[in-house]
Each structure stands twice: as C-alpha cells, then as structure tokens.
Symmetry: C2
Subunit: 362 residues, 2 copies
C-alpha cells in the first residue's frame, strides 16, 4: 500500500507488513525520552504512505485517522520513547526472543498499531492511531498529556487500547503514582569531632529500615488484584569529605491501587514516614478497571482470557479522566520493562497482531 | 617595619602589628580551597615588606626565613584555605567573638605566624614561617605535602608548631584519617513491580544502622586521650524516577588513634562493614604525641598547661613522618571548625600572640 504514495516511508512495505520486522526497525532507532524526533519522523512518513489515513502531527505526537463513517471510534495508542539505554542497544535476536531497549516497553506494542494502521484500510470501527513522546519522564513533558489539553478532539472516542506491555493479556485500570521527597536534617560538624554534630545520613537509617520492611497492600477490584509498591528511587547527601552532613534527601516512588485517591495515598505516606519531613513532588491518580463498557467486553471476548489488574501507572488513566474506557494490551512482558535484559517474544508480537486484526477486521 | 619596603604590603603596619585586626583582614579575603591566590599574594607582600626575612614562593606556598645563625630552627606553619562558605562571610565582630569562615580554622592561627614574622626581627631561634594552600581538600593538592616532596629543605628544622585551632591548648600528635566507599548492590526493575528487583538504597539501611550505632574507641597515649570517629560523609544512588536502583554508594570518613596504623584501621573497617563491598580511597596515618623532644618541652612550659590529644588529622603527621617533632597550638576552637557558626575569641588571639612572643623573644 506504500508503493505509490507521495510520502515514501523509510521502511519498505515488507517491513510494515511484518510486525516483528517493524518492531526491530523501531527498536533500532534510539529514542530515549526527549530524543524522539527521528523515530517520530519515520512513523509519520510511514502513516502518510497509506492513502486511507488522515495524518496530523504536533511536536512529536502523530495521529492517523480512518474516516469511514463507522458508528464507533476506537483508539490504538503507544509511546515512542524509552528509558535510558543500559548496554542493550541495538536489538539482537536469539531464537524467539528479541532483545533490546524498548522491545517490551513498548515499541512492540507501538509497532502493532503502526502495522495495523497501514495494512488495514477498512476496519469495522473507525480507528484513531496515536503515537507520542516523553512517556517515561515527568508528566509535564508527556505528549499524550499535552495533546489532551491542546487538542482534546484528537482523543474523542468510544474506547481506547493502550499497547503497553501486558504479555498478551488484558490488563485493566492502572495504579496511581506519587513521588515524594523525604528530608532528614542534622547539624554540621568537623568529621574528626562528629559528636558535636548530628549526621543526617546516619539519620536516614530509620527511613530506609521502614522502606526495606514495607509490605505491599493488595486490593481486588472487578476481579483484578492490584499490588502496591513503595521504593526509594534516589538518595543524596553530603557537604565535604571531612564534614558531618546536615541534610539527606530520599526520593520515594509510591504506586497505589485505584481504590485510593492521590489525597488518600499522600495521607498514607505521611503516616508511614511519621517524624520526617515529606514533600509531594508529583501525584497522579489511577484508573478503576472500568470493564463494563461494551467495546471493552467485545475486545476481551476477542482476546479470550480473563482481565488482570495493571500495576504500573499508564496513560489509560488519562483516557479514564476524559471519560473514555481504556485498557492495556501489548506483547511485551511488563516484568522486563526498564531492565537491562529487556526483550519480547516474537510469538507474542505475532499473536498480538492476530488478535487486533481479528477484532478490527470483524 | 613595612614603611620603607620596596614591596608595599596590602595591609598597613597597624594591621600587621595587631593580630586581631590581621585575623579579620585575612578572613575577609575569600580563600576556599583552590582559590587561594589573592590571600597568598597579600601574605607574600606582607612578608616581603619585612627586611629581616628571606622570602620564597612556589605556587601558593610561601616561606619566610630568619637567618640569624641560631643553634636551633623552629617552624611556625599555617594553611590559608577554608572549607566552603556557609552564610558566614565576611567576618562580623560581636563583643569578644569574631565570626566568619576560617576564623577558627585557621586564619587566626596563620595571622599569629604572619604577625610574629613581620614584628619580631630577632627571635632566639631561627624561624621558618610557612603558609600553604589546599589543606581542606584531598591530600594530593595539599601545599605542605607537595612542598615536602619538591623542596624538602624548606622543612629542615628541630621543631614545628602548626597553628591549627586548639583553643590555646597544646594538642599533641594527631589521629589518622581514612576514606572508604561502601557499595550496596541490587537489581534494577520497574518501580511498579519492584518485587522483581532488589532495591540497593533500601539495602543501605543496615550499613547506616551500623554507622548510627557506632561507639568511639578511646585510647590514652602519653596522657593524651584520643577519641575515634566514623561518619558517612556522602551518599548517592538512583537511576530514574521509576526504576528500582541497583547501586547505592556511601563515602565513609574514619578517624583513628595513632596507636593504629592505616593497615590496622582498614582491617577494622572491613570487619565493621562485613558483608559489604569496601574500597579504600584515601588513607593517612596519624602521629604519636612525641612530647619528649626538648623544644616541645620548652614550648609546653611557655604555654603553662598540660598537653591534650589532637583528634583531627593535621599536617603535624607530615612533620612527624619527616622526623620533626611537631604539635598543634592555635587560638581557634576546634569544635567550631567547619560549622556555620564558626568564630574565634579575640582574647584567645591576643593570648596566643603573647605566648608565642614570650617563647620566641626569650
């Protein structure tokens, strides 16, 4: 379908027709958050090569619509950025396993959307294919977040699927996410007479002891079990090599089940860190599973397995906040996301493409 | 004595004649380690204004000698740098207390040396006045350390006094100092599924617990009690805001009594941090009190109080390693060194000048 387009795609038709080859081609374009121009250019050109799509772009966010006058519109969405490389670029193929940064989270998912966009000219629903940047960093940079404010009409739909890694399962809802800074204060002194000071880094022992002893709360909603998490993600402190430090700061990431609001999660953390100074840096609520909507039920039937809880915060919460039922479905293994050993099973990519095609082709 | 010199001092004769005014003038020249050129220029010009002194300079190290043919030569030495400012610059005077960065450690001491150098043309011993840079940072930059290797003849003497803060007491010997890095390793994972990883920052809890529970060993040598210290001075860890970190590093500073060698102190630390990876970054041995030498006994008599142990590592260990008996004596309060509240008692500066003059004038 790309042969006669005035916008030649950087990828040949045989790559766009093969979701595995397309995943690998997308992984091999480096796109750590903030550096997505090259991959967005490639995706845009591939979409423009398909004459049945209406394509728009704002910054590094690209939308491609079918406009067939169908009764319902669905969204297939994926981000194009990755976490920093970790000796895992470019991709390598070992039997059924494709290794590399972004293979699981989530270029295999975004490749499915791009593959279907260019290869399925007449889906049974109208479809909005959406690709965006900066999902792996602070929410203020998130392309979907920005477009939901500047171009909310781009997100008008009856149902949305976010192609985040779920290992081919339907993962419903998502947990909320909160970042706080815990501050431990002390008093400076010369390190040779430290008993005249109070060592703030030593004072962090109790905060870290509580974190190390943390036990996840587990909540079942709509048959989906959500498991919370609480982790120090950064620690810093120190003045000079011969000075007892007067400040130690710990950045803590909290994932909370969608039965709690961000306000309730904050109250929990203030209680957990009682006796210490806690500042909330970022907070986003989760999304309840919301499985009762008809399009969701149709899709679950197409997949054929029972839905599970989504533990990571994902942009389904942004769709949920706009009143659009949304769920996560992608070929990657979420347990491998952000790891050095990140990979995706080729079989899962092929099966994911088949499920989506079965559903969209009717 | 500066009136007719071809090298006009930046400080008037009335300032050089008054050790309190001179302390304040030296404090008000900012000289954080690595930035000592301006104060060294001023000290050099002041020394060159005194015709009875032979002055040499290498980098930011200045030496001024009397050459009177006396039977014995003594050294008065002080560093010109300070730790980083901490809202305590420039100086302020409040009654008997002079506040500011370097007032105690150790511009009041170095001011005594400069005051005596220019105002006492015929001491009973020949005197080497020595001023140097970069004492508050890594030993490789230390001006006295460098000059002891490039110009060891500058340090030829029978006895040395280092004018580090001792609150007007004689502090003998010094403790050794060692810096190690303790590494805690983990395994990365996505922060929403942290149970698949091992959080290295949480793993630091046990290391910090041991540090918080540390109890000083105390040793009495030649009647002087040495009290050891063990402190985290830096901590760092973290990969990204949504990643369970796989590495946490703690820089630890250890001060050990001079009855232990650096090798013995290292063995102690490896035992203390058993189960963790420990790397020694820097190690310098201490100095035994060495109070039996005749010039030391003479000086102790001039001061009139019993000597105590020096807890901080000081450059007396460099003199000791060259076979030169050395002790610490200065007007500053060592407990105030490196603190925001650093200050010196004007009375102690005046008394210190009187003690040194009584001893050197005979």
């Amino acid at each position: 379908m790309a042969a006669h387009s005035p916008f030649p795609s950087p990828w040949q038709a045989d790559v766009l027709d093969d979701p595995v080859a397309l995943t690998r081609a997308m992984v091999d374009i480096e796109s750590v958050s903030g550096d997505e121009k090259e991959i967005t250019d490639a995706v845009e050109l591939a979409l423009r090569s398909a004459p049945h799509l209406a394509v728009d772009r704002v910054g590094n966010v690209v939308r491609a619509n079918t406009n067939l006058g169908r009764a319902q519109r669905v969204i297939l969405a994926g981000h194009l950025d990755t976490v920093p490389l970790h000796d895992n670029f470019p991709s390598t193929l070992d039997g059924d396993l494709l290794y590399g940064c972004g293979t699981s989270d989530m270029k295999s998912g975004s490749a499915l959307a791009l593959h279907l966009a260019v290869s399925l000219p007449e889906p049974v629903f109208d479809v909005t294919y959406l690709f965006y940047d900066c999902e792996e960093i602070d929410a203020e940079h998130n392309g979907l977040n920005k477009i939901s404010q500047s171009h909310p009409d781009w997100l008008a739909a009856d149902f949305a699927i976010l192609l985040e890694p779920t290992y081919g399962l339907v993962e419903a809802g998502c947990q909320g996410s909160m970042r706080v800074v815990v501050r431990i204060e002390g008093r400076r002194a010369h390190a040779a007479r430290s008993w005249h000071g109070v060592n703030a880094i030593h004072g962090a022992a109790e905060v870290l002891r509580r974190l190390a002893g943390y036990e996840s709360r587990r909540v079942v909603i709509d048959g989906c079990e959500f498991r919370e998490a609480l982790n120090a993600v950064y620690i810093r402190g120190g003045v000079a090599g011969n000075v007892v430090p007067d400040l130690c700061e710990i950045d803590v990431n909290h994932r909370f089940a969608p039965d709690r609001t961000a306000v309730e999660a904050e109250a929990y953390l203030r209680d957990f860190f009682e006796g210490y100074h806690v500042e909330v840096v970022e907070a986003v609520g989760g999304a309840l599973p919301g499985l009762s909507a008809t399009p969701a039920q149709d899709f679950i039937t197409a997949v054929g397995t029972a839905p599970l809880a989504k533990l990571g915060w994902t942009d389904v919460a942004r769709f949920a906040s706009l009143g659009i039922p949304a769920l996560n479905f992608g070929p990657g293994d979420p347990n491998l996301a952000h790891t050095k050993n990140e990979h995706v099973e080729v079989t899962k990519i092929v099966e994911g493409a088949e499920v989506l095609r079965r559903w969209l082709a009717g």
